[in-house]
Structures are given as C-alpha cells and as structure tokens.
C-alpha cells in the first residue's frame, strides 16, 4: 500500500506517524511545505506570551526508516487519473491512497495599506509590523517587534485574538483588541458572558473596542505606524496582529476537481465523495458534522482513519463515527482569564424533556457559568473566571459522566472531590471521635490516659498507642495535655 500525505503539520504528522506504527507494510511519503519539523501550532500563542519555549514545540513524527518525508517541498498538482502527486521539484509520487492534511491559512482582511505597494494584491507581502499568527515564523516576527513593550493592535477577538492580546499585555505591551462584532468570541459567547470577558480583559489592562473594524493602515516607508478604525479613531501601533480567522487550504483539491465547500468535502468515512482513494482530515476538510477548527477534531480524524486502515483479518472497514464530544471544547489559553466553552448553548423551550439551562452571572466578580443539561448529561457550558469549575465541567462533558439531579449543583460547587479537610482541633472533637486514626483511639481514651497521669505524648502513646502510627495526631494529644495542665495548677 502506497500512501501519500500532503501536509506535515499537527494533523499530517500525526496521521503519518500513526499509519507507520499501525501498518508496517505501508509505504509512506509525506510532503510538507514548511521547512520546520512538525510542531505544536496550538502553542504559538503561548510562545508569543513568553510561556513556552519555541524549542519545546516539536511534535512526534514518523522516522526516516518508515517514511520518506520531504520538508519544504510543496505539492503542486494531484493527478487523480494516474494516482500521482507532483511536487514543485518535478518529482511525481504514486499513491494508492492520498491523505490531504493541508490545513488552513490565516485569513488576511482586505484593509487598505496592509500590503506593501506594488505587485498583485494577493501576493505582495504585508507591511513591516503587520502579521498573522499561523506559524513559527509569524511568532518570531511578533516577538521581534514586541519585546516587552510597545503599542499593539490585535484585530479580531476570537480565541486566538484573546490569547494574543492577553499574552502580549502580560509582557508589558499596551494592547488594543478590536472586534468587528458587538460580542467577543461571538460563536461561543452570549452577551452576558461576553460582557464579563470584556471586563476581565480590561482588568488585565487591555483596551477593548467592539463593533469596529480596521479601515486603513499607515505605513510610511513600509513600516507600520497607525491603524485606523471604523469608529473614526486612529491608534498608533508598532505591531498589528491579524487574528481574523482562517481559510482552509483547498486549492490543490479544487484544481484536482474534488468538490469543495469551505473545505474539502468528505463523508463520514473521511473520503472525498468523488474519489474513494482521496481523504481529507484536519483544518482543510469539511466533514458532515462541520469543521471546528480545533486540533482535537483533526487528531480524532487521524485516529479514525488509521484505525480503519489497520491491517486485519477481514476487509478494512470504514472509519467509525467521531468519538466523544470533546471535539468542540474551546479552552482559551489566556493568562489571568479562565475561559472555556463546550457544546452549543441553545435556548431551550419549556417542556418536561427539554434541556435544562441554568446560569450564574457575577459581573463584579468577573465570573460567569452557564450549563445545559440534557438526559442527565452535560451537553453545553460556558465558564468564565472559575478555573476549578472549568476543569471539572470539561471532564464531565468529555467523559459524559452523569451530572447531579439538580444542575444548579454544577454552578454552586465544584465537581471534583473537595479540597481535603484539615483535621479538627482536639477541642472541637467529641469524646467518642477517633483522634488517632491509625490505631482507632478516641479522644475519650486519650483524655482518660491524661487524667490517669500520663504527662507527655510519649507516655500517652505508650498507654493508648495513639500517635504511634503516622504521628500526625501527636499535636492534638499535646493540645489535650496542655488543656489539662491549664485546668490544674502545677504542683509547687
């Protein structure tokens, strides 16, 4: 079996490594347009925030003994009739199965002045000081430009925009976050949640401008100086970061006559409807359930594809359905702001079997939680400003564990075991409460030993065994000894 993978990013590298492990007989070729080894793109915002070392981003990849990996080599044409992929160096790679994992590109908005003058609009480079954040080169460019200060405009307050804004603010930059809609992260947040996030961002020193877009960029001598906004204001800027979404990379597929919508259309089996030998996974694909733009979905698709191709006795079978519901869990990696959304919050109507939705809004506390429970399971939630609840609800959502009968418990108390309770002081204990757990000795027994003349913890231990196990109750024995001495005047 000859398999060609186009794309060596997070999803392409994963599917190649897993295919190599699952099928020792597979002959693999991987074409990656970036010169880098595969790395963790999700962590780029953490690199920008100074929380992750770029050297630590490298991801697992298939070894040279198992696959031919061509780095920095772009695929230029797919010849489906002859089952060949042509690369930019003129080599043709034959395949039995072709996996498209070409990912997505940053969407660059059409703002006057954004690109250097001259050349075709789509091709000419962005002016100095303007960058998306899609790859390591972008991250390094941003870091060079914003080294612990300066004026920054972040365009777009989706997940990435909020991560970049908080990350750069944390490094000391003066950040303006501009969003074209009234609500931040409008795909995930409703108005109340958005307002609380808005407040939290301002607390972190970020200026948030909503319902506004960039109308122009001043870059005399090719270097960014000012960003003009639709509200009429002009912001001086050393750096403009474009977090205005992504576009699936479908050009190769389209040129090969494969059907594309927003992404390369695939069925539940991840194959293109018009060609059973071509598959698409990750950000470039458009599966029936829709693309989430999250790596979890791409990795899950890689797992399903490899699982379905695993050599086995019987015929290889179609990939199973997507597993779990964790795919649409969105966790914003923002320092100082806990923000997680999962599932889709729909306003349920009345009715016995309708989903139940309860919410807690605490604007001055910077806290918001909404949960939607249906048939005893958590089906959607938004959590702002409560990291314990965020973690616990994420796990409950991912694992589909049963939730309390009354969903209000999900807001009122964390789901995990509560923090371990400290031991009560001896004074607070009843006579028959066990004071020494290791030996099952009650407070009454210890008191009796003290009354009977034991004058030290060692003597109490000898008489009762209390304190001879882990020893943590010795302080309470001492407390009882002290209390006894306080009551009785010391003999002269």
């Amino acid at each position: 079996m000859r398999i060609v993978v186009i794309g060596h990013g997070m999803v392409g590298s994963r599917v190649a490594a897993d295919l190599a492990a699952a099928d020792p007989g597979a002959r693999l070729t991987v074409l990656g347009q970036e010169d880098h080894d595969p790395y963790n793109r999700v962590q780029l915002s953490s690199v920008v925030a100074g929380k992750a070392d770029p050297a630590a981003l490298a991801l697992e990849q298939v070894g040279p003994e198992r696959a031919r990996v061509l780095r920095g080599v772009r695929a230029v044409r797919i010849d489906r009739a002859s089952h060949l992929v042509h690369d930019e160096l003129g080599e043709a790679h034959p395949y039995d199965r072709l996996v498209l994992a070409t990912g997505s590109a940053a969407r660059i908005p059409d703002v006057p002045g954004l690109r250097a003058p001259g050349g075709a609009a789509e091709e000419s480079p962005l002016v100095d000081g303007v960058s998306p954040l899609k790859d390591l080169d972008d991250a390094e460019r941003i870091l060079r430009r914003c080294d612990g200060g300066g004026e920054v405009v972040v365009l777009g307050a989706g997940v990435l925009g909020i991560e970049v804004a908080t990350g750069l603010a944390g490094r000391g930059a003066r950040v303006t976050l501009v969003h074209h809609r009234e609500r931040l992260m409008e795909r995930q947040l409703d108005r109340d949640a958005s307002e609380i996030v808005h407040g939290a961002l301002e607390t972190l020193g970020i200026t948030v401008v909503t319902s506004a877009s960039a109308t122009g960029v001043d870059a005399p001598e090719g270097r960014l100086e000012t960003v003009h906004l639709s509200d009429g204001s002009a912001r001086p800027a050393d750096l403009l970061v474009l977090c205005t979404g992504t576009v699936p990379q479908t050009a190769l597929a389209e040129a090969a006559g494969l059907e594309c919508g927003a992404g390369v259309l695939v069925g539940e089996d991840l194959a293109c409807p018009g060609d059973p030998d071509v598959f698409a996974i990750g950000d470039c694909a458009q599966p029936p359930e829709g693309a989430s733009g999250l790596v979890a979905q791409g990795w899950e698709q890689a797992r399903r594809l490899v699982e379905s191709w695993r050599p086995r006795e019987e015929e290889s079978r179609a990939p199973g359905p997507p597993r779990g519901t964790g795919g649409d869990l969105v966790r914003v990696k923002a320092v100082g702001l806990a923000l997680v959304t999962m599932g889709r919050i729909e306003r349920p109507g009345p009715g016995l079997h309708a989903p139940r939705s309860v919410r807690l809004a605490d604007p001055s506390g910077g806290r918001f939680t909404e949960v939607v429970v249906h048939e005893g399971r958590l089906v959607a939630a938004t959590i702002v400003g409560d990291e314990d609840a965020a973690a616990e609800l994420s796990a409950a959502f991912t694992l589909r564990t049963p939730v309390p009968r009354d969903p209000v418990h999900l807001l009122a108390r964390p789901l995990a075991a509560r923090a371990a309770a400290p031991a009560a002081s001896a004074a607070d204990m009843a006579e028959d409460d066990v004071l020494c757990q290791c030996n099952g000795v009650t407070k009454g027994t210890v008191c009796a030993a003290v009354a009977g003349g034991c004058g030290s913890t060692a003597e109490v231990s000898r008489a009762t065994r209390a304190g001879t196990g882990c020893g943590t109750c010795r302080s309470r024995i001492q407390e009882l000894l002290d209390a006894s001495r306080d009551r009785e005047p010391a003999p002269v």
């Binding site: 953490s46 630590a56 697992e60 966790r331 990291e387 796990a395 589909r400 757990q437 290791c438 065994r465």
Partner: protein, 733 residues
C-alpha cells in the same frame, strides 16, 4: 480486645527483634512471649514497636494486633485432604505429602512438566521465594510460576528496569525524604496503608511541598491541607495525562537540568515530541485538573530540584497509578519527569515506587516471577541461566524458559493447553486477583489444587490438599523492604500443632519427587545458597548471611562481598544500562481497556483500608480490626447518592462487564462524584474483584484494577448478605 502494651515499650531485653508481618514498610517489632498466653484466646506474644529507620518506633493497629492472627480460632494446624465426598479432613503429613507426590507424578506423566503451575506470594520470605522458584524449575521442571506481586509491583519494576536499568524499589533510604522541598506522591494512600511512613513527610509538609494525586480525598490527600501542599484529584485512568502535562510544562518552560540530561541520559528529543502534544489546557479537559494547578505543581517540583537551587525533590508512585493497563507507561512518565529534573541517582532527590506487600521486592528478585532467576537474573539470558544452573548443580539446558504473567497463568488453569495442577503458596487469588468469578471457575477446572496457608483463606477452602504453614513470628528468614533493605525475620515462638515451614514442605516434596538434596529446611542455609545464586546479578546478596545481618544489622543491596558495606544509595555512580545512561522514553496516553459507556458512566476504583490488609485473610481474623471494618461498602459522593436517591448505608447494586454485587453505600464528600471506591479486602458478595476485569498492561502483565466502567443502581431492599464463605465443593476425578 487489643493486648495492653507493656509499660517498658521498646526496651524488652528478652524480646525477639523482628518485623511486622504485613506491608513493605516492615516496621520493626519486638515480640515477647506472654506467660500462660494462648488459653481462651489470650495473646501469646506482646508486640512493641521498635526504633528503626523506617518506622521510627511506630506501628499501625494492624501491626499492634498482629499477634492475634497466631491464635486465630480456625488456625490450620494439620494437613487436610479432600475426600471423595468433597469434604476436607485432617490427615498425617505423610499421607498428605504422599498424596501430593502421587498426584503430581500422575499429572506430569500424563501432560508433561508444564502440567503443574506454581502461584507464589509477595509476603513470603526471600528464602521461601527462592526455594519455591528453584523447586518449580528444578523439581517440577515447569516454566509456569508467577506470583501475586504481579498485581503489585510489575508495572513499576518493568518501567524502572527499562528506564534506569535497575528496580530496587526506593534506591535511597526512607529518612532521606525528610530533607526534600517537594515530594510528588502519585496514587498512594500511604497514610492508610503504611501509616508510620507519614513521619518521613513531616519535613516536606512543613515546607508546603507535598503533592498528592488521588481521585479521593484520602487520608494521604488530607496531609496536604493547611498549606502543607497540593492535592490533585484527576479523573480515574488519566494519571498519565497529568504526568504528560507536567512533562510538557517542565520542557516548555525550560525547567530541566541540562547538565544532568547531557551527562546521564539519552532520548530527550523523542520524549519532547511526545510531551509536546499535552499542553496543560488540553490535559485539563481529559484529567479534570485545572491547567494552572498542573503548571503550579510542575514549577514546585522544578524549584525543589537541585539544579534550580532547591533542597531536593522526589517522585514516588503507588498502585493508584500503576494498576492500569498503561501502568508501565505511567511509571515511565514519572521516571521521565524525575530524570528531566535531574533527580535520579543523586543524594537528596529521586524516584521510587512504594512497594505494597511485605516482600514484594525480594519475591521478584529471587525467583517468583515468570521470567526471572535469583539475583534479578533473566531466565532468557544464557549467562544468567548458566550461573544459576551451576549453583543448583543442574544442566542449564534443563532449566525451563519463561512462563506467563499471573493473570494469563490463572486464565490458563484447567484448559486443554494449560496446567491441570496448581500449588498456591502465600496467596489468596480468589479474593485478590481481577475478575474473581473467572478465577474460581479456573480453579474448579483443575485436577489438583494444593494450597499452603496459615488459615483457611478463601483459596485454601477450595484446595484438594491443604498444608498448614508457619507464621512470621514462628520462623526465621529475611525480607527485603520497600527501600531494598534486607532485614531479618526471627522466631519468637514455636508453630502450633503440625504447622510446618514451606521450606520443610518443599524439601519433603522434592525428596519424594526424586531430588533428595538442595532443599534445606533451615532458612540460613537456604539464604547462603541464595547469596551464591545472586552473586554477580543485579540484586547481589552474595556478601550477606543471616549471621552477618544479625551482627551488623540490616543492609541495602547490592552487597557484592563480605566486606562490602551495602548500598543505601543506588545509581549514584551511573545507571546499570549498556551505556551507563538512563533512558528518557516517550509515552502515549491510551483510553482505559474498559472506557466509560452510556450504560456504565462511572469509574470504579478499588483500594485498601487502614484496618485491613490485602485479601483480609489475616486481618479479618483480628476481632478489633474486623469490628472496625466488618464488610465491604461502596464509597460515593453525596451528589451521586442524591442522583440514585439513596442515603448513607443503603444498599446499591454495582455492575460492570465482569459481574455485579450489592453493598451498602458510604456517602462522603471525599471522592469525585463520577467515581465509586470499593475496598478489595472482602470475600464473597463483597468482593470488589467480582467487578474488575482481566485486561492487563501489555508490557508488565499488571491488571487494570484501578479503573473499571461501572453502573450503579439503587437496591433499597434490605438484602441479608451472607458473609459466610461458601465452600465450593469439587469432586476429585
């Protein structure tokens, strides 16, 4: 009633200095005979804690009451043979042994040497473990031996050997922990299972550095309260995700010990790639631990590490993380973490697993494990085979090859290709193995079951031949504790009635089966041979003897010569791998073998209670311990109880793929609401292992005890659960 401690604790000059019969902490005890003891159940020995580096004089209530098992009313004192009517009846030793000999010969003649299998226990002395392994390989010629330590230490042992080239439990003395700034305790409830251990954590707690991971707010987790540290309560089955996130943070924030990594390890890049995929925010959604907490713990550990100016840090693992179908991978990740921070093989820092059973360590070093020969030698290595064969006076070619791990062995019993006879020694697999219904079924399919035990345990009651043996206070020998320290067990009284040491029984059987020499009944003589067999092996005891241990006190192996002072700190000068370096190994998280599903949406975890030990065969015979914890229960959160509509103490029905049972609920906030805990010390309907599955870790054979998909239903009818063990009668063919 517990015996009254004497006023002269610890200073009984006439007493016998020995160690507790239970866990691997092996607390030092002094045993003193009681004049006129034994009548009407009066204690025959008083027990005192004795000062020793591990227990510092402390004992838990199991240790204090240990002497009561000596005079258990149903103590076995004569051999028993099951008659044609299915009833066990007392017979003479000659009758019992002649019967065993005849039946073993018959099975072997009919079906070959592998017709007979041996199942040992981690509570047996080094001498017994050694003799049992030798008996299996030399007298029976069978490859099929394994032991219940497989359920205990196999994942940690496999991972330690793979990564460090050595498995000695803790490669440092326990009191070293006192100086650390941070101790990460993964899946251990030592405050309940080995309470005197807690004394060694006082220092780190006073500095706020104790980190405990446990889905329950256990007694050990409670030690982190009041600023003493941090408790993480991950989703069961996701410990590896927690560790991957810690690895990720340590690498992403460049907190590693570069000098150490360059000088003492290999494999950094592959590990980096496997950890890169688990940033804390991704881990959070799987393990339920907030990303900020994961970062906090990673930084605590790093700041405590010597390369960053800390006083020292330790990573310790317990069964909570090891008893998993990815147990070896999880321990590997724990070792990776310790290596990245430069902790292993350095004074004041380190990695180690916390051994559970009294001699789980020595048992695996000296021959109870399917693939090992004494001295931690490999049964597949020609040089190792030659060395041991020379000591045993046999042709190396005559030694069998490797057997199979415990769960697989139990699954083979009585099948056409499996053994038809089994000798059980120091184990109670009918309670302690996973999926005990299947174990019972396999035992029933045997032609011959021989059990050596001190009391009629649940497994003993199924035997065709039941041989009564000595208890700890009635025998000489050595044990190897959780820190690789070889200690002496000493006799304080004579065994009652006809109870005999396993060493004597093996000698008698060997002679009957045609091997008249090589099986001395004296423990010191067995030890001397063990020392020779271990010479040059990884676990080298060749410089030790009973006499030297009596003269100089306990010693940590390796002790390669009579003048060698022992090795309290192993790995300081390098790792016993081919290139002297430790291996950083990449790990991958897999879902549990039995993931949650719509009709089993909760996690079952099993574990131990302070008042009971392992299968409970001993501790359930101590009245005060039984009174404290008389029966099994299902611990659950009030929110789960509310969902089920039940109150504390009401019965619930627990159901898994393996089986179902009814127990009362114990409602407590100290557990995740998605998790139910059951202690595994109980037989019959309360046996937690009716519910566990027999899937194992592919690398170590460790069963996945610690996470099973569970359905819970209210079962409010007051079911009178008979706590009497039903004796399954089996006819003898």
């Amino acid at each position: 009633m517990p015996s009254t401690p004497s006023a002269s604790a610890g200073t009984a000059p006439s007493g016998t200095a020995t160690h507790c019969p239970y866990c691997a902490l092996q607390c030092a005890q002094t045993l003193t005979p009681v004049a006129g003891g034994g009548a009407d159940g009066a204690p025959v020995l008083t027990v005192e804690g004795r000062d020793f580096p591990t227990n510092q004089g402390g004992l838990c209530r199991k240790g204090w009451t240990s002497a009561e098992v000596l005079t258990a009313p149903d103590r076995l004192t004569a051999p028993q043979l099951r008659g044609a009517d299915g009833v066990l009846r007392e017979v003479s030793w000659d009758a019992a042994l002649d019967h065993v000999e005849a039946r073993l010969r018959e099975q072997r003649e009919r079906r070959g040497a592998d017709a007979v299998a041996v199942f040992g226990g981690g509570g047996l002395t080094n001498e017994k473990a050694y003799a049992l392994g030798k008996f299996t390989r030399v007298v029976l010629g069978s490859r099929l031996i394994d032991y219940n330590g497989r359920f205990c230490m196999s994942a940690a042992a496999t991972a330690s050997n793979r990564s460090l080239g050595l498995d000695r439990g803790l490669p440092f003395p326990l009191p070293d922990l006192a100086g650390a700034d941070c101790v990460l305790l993964l899946g251990s409830n030592l405050a309940a299972t080995m309470p005197p251990f807690v004394q060694h954590l006082e220092g780190v707690r006073s500095r706020g550095g104790l980190v405990v991971t446990d889905p329950r707010g256990s007694a050990t987790a409670a030690l982190t309260a009041e600023g003493a540290g941090v408790h993480l309560a991950p989703v069961p089955g996701t410990d590896l995700v927690v560790l991957l996130a810690l690895l990720h943070v340590v690498l992403a924030e460049d907190l590693v010990d570069h000098e150490y990594l360059a000088a003492r390890t290999t494999g950094l890049e592959a590990l980096r790639a496997s950890a890169a995929a688990w940033w804390p925010e991704r881990a959070e959604a799987v393990c339920g631990v907030p990303a900020r907490r994961l970062r906090q713990v990673a930084r605590m550990l790093a700041d405590a590490s010597p390369s960053r100016g800390g006083r020292g840090a330790y990573v310790l693992t317990g069964r909570g993380v090891e008893q998993s179908t990815q147990g070896t991978a999880t321990v590997t990740a724990a070792i990776d973490l310790a290596l990245l921070l430069g902790l292993v093989g350095r004074r004041g820092s380190g990695y180690g697993p916390l051994t559970g059973q009294g001699n789980g360590q020595g048992g695996r070093e000296h021959g109870l494990k399917a693939d090992q020969l004494p001295g931690y030698r490999k049964i597949t290595d020609p040089e190792d085979r030659a060395h041991v064969a020379a000591v045993w006076g046999v042709d190396p070619e005559s030694l069998p090859g490797p057997g199979v791990p415990a769960v697989e062995l139990l699954g083979m019993l009585g099948r056409p290709v499996g053994p038809s006879a089994l000798i059980v020694c120091g184990a109670n697999p009918v309670v302690s193995a996973p999926d005990v219904s299947r174990v019972r079924e396999r035992l029933a399919a045997l032609d011959l079951l021989v059990v050596m035990d001190t009391v009629p345990s649940e497994t003993a009651l199924l035997a065709d031949v039941l041989l009564p043996v000595t208890q700890w206070a009635e025998e000489e020998g050595t044990m190897t504790n959780l820190e690789g320290r070889v200690i002496r067990r000493r006799r304080a009284r004579e065994a009652p009635g006809g109870a005999r040491s396993e060493l004597w029984i093996l000698r008698e059987l060997a002679a009957r089966l045609g091997v008249p020499t090589g099986f001395p009944a004296e423990a010191s003589a067995v030890f001397d041979e063990l020392a020779r067999a271990s010479a040059g092996g990884r676990a080298d005891y060749s410089g030790l003897s009973h006499e030297r241990l009596d003269r100089e006190g306990s010693m940590h192996w390796p002790v390669p010569g009579p003048d060698h002072p022992g090795t309290p700190h192993a790995l300081l000068d390098g790792f016993p791998t081919a290139d002297g370096r430790a291996r950083l190994l990449p790990v991958t998280h897999e879902d549990p073998a039995d993931p949650l599903r719509a009709d089993a949406p909760l996690h079952l975890v099993t574990g131990r209670l302070l008042e009971q030990y392992q299968s409970g065969a001993q501790t359930r015979r101590v009245p005060s311990l039984l009174a404290a914890r008389p029966a099994a229960f299902a611990q659950m959160h009030p929110l789960l109880a509310d969902l089920l509509g039940i109150e504390d103490g009401e019965e619930v029905l627990l159901r898994t793929r393996s089986g179902e049972l009814r127990v009362p609920a114990e409602v407590t906030e100290e557990i995740r609401p998605d998790t139910v805990f059951m202690p595994f010390h109980y037989p019959g309907e309360g046996s937690a292992n009716l519910l566990t599955g027999s899937a194992t870790d592919p690398l170590s054979g460790m069963p996945g005890f610690k996470v099973t998909a569970l359905e819970v239903l209210p079962a409010p009818r007051p079911v009178p659960v008979p706590d009497v063990v039903t004796v399954q009668q089996r006819s003898i063919v």
